[in-house]
Amino acid sequence: MDLIELDGVEKVFDVRRRTGFMRREKRQVRAVDGISFTIPRGEMVGYIGPNGAGKSTTIKMLTGILTPSGGRLRVAGIDPARERTRLASRIGVVFGQRTTLWWDLPLKDSYRLMHRMYRIPDARFAANMERCVELLDLAELLDVPVRQLSLGQRMRGDIAAALLHDPEVLYLDEPTIGLDVVSKSKVRQFLRDLNAELGTTVLLTTHDLTDIEQLCKRVMVIDHGRLMYDGALAGLHEVGESERMLVVDLEQELPPVETDLARVVKVEGPRQWLAFPASVSAAPLVAQLAASYPLLDLSVREPDIEAVIAKMYAGGADGAQGARLV
């Protein structure tokens, strides 16, 4: 049986706006506009889209925070809006932007409270604590009040808090937003292990395509409240015809390099930008350049999600201009 089922789920907000003195205009916004998908147990799915696309609204409906305006929604067989508190002990939620921990209390106290609040058996709690403390590097942080933690530390603390009660599904809303590279990779590694070892179903929203690349085989793209794409990540790059960017620093200023694997889109002194399809490896291109040009340095830049989606709209009409220099 599928763990998560959505069938034509809608969320319509009434937005009231002042248009003048005492005058108000009522307008309906369809934040989620008929979304259907299912997620089987043990899958790790990326849920992406630009700001205001309806990602967070979907997560809020899946957790029971918001009541859908239409359609059918089930998580572990439970209707989240009707049985929110019963569902709560079976799911874990991490909001990247705000903590579920108690701000003024030491991390340890938050966990102790979760232990009692979720009625976690002592043995399970001890085992889960041990696992999280070790894998998320929390030992030093347990006595620190949450407000004194850095963003990355707090995020790790939050992820642990969401997992102490052995949830069947973990929702992560922007889990790597604002984190440094080391923290990001720690979080990703932990999530990969969690999914592989415990079989926890994971649904994560993100702006960072690298998160998806490293974690999810399946990705769903939402925009304007509609599901635009549901499938493998590689397929997304094909649909979006997105391009990655290889930035090379040559030893001296040269005319644009000649290669059949990429296009030169910009030259600035000894630095050149080369666009190549995101669905192919950068290795052959690098090898080719290294063989014929004096390279000092190089780096690969991933396409950002907005660019991919913009190109999905363009429908591949003009692949030559879409790649963005960042």
């Binding site: 009541t67 019963r86 409270l113 609040m117 979720y118």
Partner: protein, 278 residues
Amino acid sequence: MVPVRGRLALARDGFRAYGLIAMMWVRSTMAYRASFALTTLGSFLGTGLDFVAVLLMFGHVERLGGFSLGEVAFLYGVAGSALGIGDLLMGTMGRVGLRVRDGTLDTLLVRPVPVLAQLAADQFALRRIGRITQGLAVLVYAVVQLDEVQWTPLKVLMVPMMLLSGGAIFAALFTMGGAFQFLAQDAAEVQSAFTFGGNALLQYPPTVFAKDLVRGVTFLLPLAFVNWIPVMYVLGRPYPLDVPEWFAFAPPVVAVGFWVVAGLLWRAGLRSYRSTGS
């Protein structure tokens, strides 16, 4: 509709969660005992100031609205202690609007215990017993002063009954204020107007106020049941309005009524939040 048994289980879960969270805050407060002692003392002295005002007034007049110092102190002590109990239990409900605005209410909605209990117990401040202590101190002073009252066992029992019912009434009022903040997110001041404002009113005898105000406080928003009506029975004085004698024993019933309304308002508020997300 949730069946009765489900509702009882919900209430039990709520009380349990409240206890868990409140205990944790108490423990964390007790880590800084000196600071706790000082803030409690501050709360005690701060709330004591307006009783000093009452004392000063009686330095110039013998009676206030026909009431002696002991009688006014009795009214003051009951109202102050009742507000103190309500404030201790549900005072943090003033922060609902804030939590709606900054979105942290969502983090409470994904936990397996009632949101009301989590909000009410959040930052549980034991220093608020300062206000209760001050109220009780004035009450003791009043009882010592009141030599004209013939204490019967029933009148003695009235005192704890008034404190508990009054505390429940104020706690319900805080909850209603919290529910109202789902609609108007910066309405914490409105809430204070009714709770702390109501207390300021009840500290003085009903006879000093206009009849229409007393009528409103008796029938419209029945705060008079916190102290005015039952205290008149204890003092053996007539209530300025024509009310049946059994009204003096009605505070527990009124408190239950307050809580039913508070519960319904809270549910409506939370439901509207969950359909609008703001």
